[in-house]
Amino acid sequence: MLDALGFAFMQRALLAGVLVATLCGVLGFFVVLKRLAFIGVGISHSAFGGIALGLLLGVEPLLAAAGFATIVAWGVGWISRKGRLHEDTVIGILFSSAMAFGVALISLSRSYQVDLFGYLFGNILAVSPADLWMLGGIGAVVLLVVGLLFKELLFLAFDEEVARASGLPVTRLYFVLLTCLALTIVAAIRVVGLILVEALLVIPAAIGYQLADGYRGMLGIAVCSAALSAVAGLCISYVLDIAAGATIVLVLTALFFAAVGVGRVRRRGSQAASNPGAVTG
């Protein structure tokens, strides 16, 4: 395994994995707390339309996907804020239409079908230096924006109505969050593919939610478990020769069930401590 670290492609894969996992851990924190999980699924699947468009027009597919996913995310935000339709209905409509658009475009040019597999299921071992720069750029922008607006986004996630009443520009903040989410998802497509992106967004934050009492702890655990799963998943996939993206997600799933177990034991322990009579009675 250690020999593998000597390969440039493996180093790039590790760097990309940790970078994307960290990013997903941070955005996943808001996805879980603001209950945006279904929006995440919608954005990741709609990115397929952008990828197909990029392939057809000869533009970098992930760049096209970034633009496309951002527009779909704004569309979801805009239509659902108008209040005529529920957010999940809007997501259901836009995400399947965007995928249908992608499939229709792909069927126009059959020769590109080989490339598609990598976008659907990820191809972390094929990350190029240029990809790494792109991931680094997206990561830096998203982390900077989220870092600077953290207290506002936390207030928005906790109580949108009072946040708005206190004078926060809630709608603009929500759109900033959706944009960061779209960019993060597109970055993560390189690593785990658009089918599995949601796992990288939701599971690390869900682990943090299970284990931590405070939001700082939840965020820390989310980032650490995401990064850990990226490294461990990559190593396991190399040794066992199985798909890297899927292995990362399976490692995360195992961590999640472990966290549920630990959380349950801890809660039982604290209940027993606060109410000793209940154990015997």
């Binding site: 607006l149 906790f158 702890g217």
Partner: protein, 262 residues
Amino acid sequence: MNSGNSAIVHVRDLAVSIDGHPVLWDVTFDVAAGSFLGIIGPNGAGKTTLLRVLLGLLPATQGVAEVLGMKPSELGRRAHQIGYVPQRPEFDPRFPVSVRDVVMMGRTCCLGILRFPRRADWEAVEDTIHRVGLAGLESRRIGELSGGQQQRAFLARALCAETRILLLDEATTGLDLPAQHELYALLQRLRRDLQLTVIAVSHDLLELGAHTDKLMCINGAMHIHGNPHTVLESHELRAAYRCEFDFLSDEVQARVRDEHQC
């Protein structure tokens, strides 16, 4: 701009429609700085709508609504001077924030975007938590608190940002009678100490009549506005509630007398 007197809230001929349906009309009142106004009315009377207009969450369809001498939607960063305690706030009880974190959220807007809380901000948060009687519970997760304690935490959140006006929507829902009394006593104390103007909304006349300086009754339109004695004895009140409640009157009068004599 405003009515020219010491009115901190000025509403003239206000009408509000939601999706084309009139919810409020002919509402006119002023609130003097430092006073405690109770707004009563049956369920669905438009009380929450009125608060939402004062908070800038809903536009007025007609008429004038001014808070601190400005239209609520134009308050911008001054909006934090209006504290808001919503009706039964909906939040995830497992949301990983402590009482201290929740109260700090109240300072988010007065801190401004791109600025992080400093020591003075944390001190203001501790001070407000102390004022509402939650000292010792600062580090507890908000969902672990009782309903009454959560209400106080949200009150602290509404108060910790140089607040001048406090708006409460059905603040005592779910509280038993002693807890209701305690909350109103706390509000009176806070009003005095922090020179607040308080506007509280409730469907329960018994409760508000006994604790406020002025009462206003609305049911779509404004029916009456005056001191609690006048309002509670009025025919307009009966008209607004569209029922007779003589069985309540004696008790209301007795409680108003008791509380105002204390």
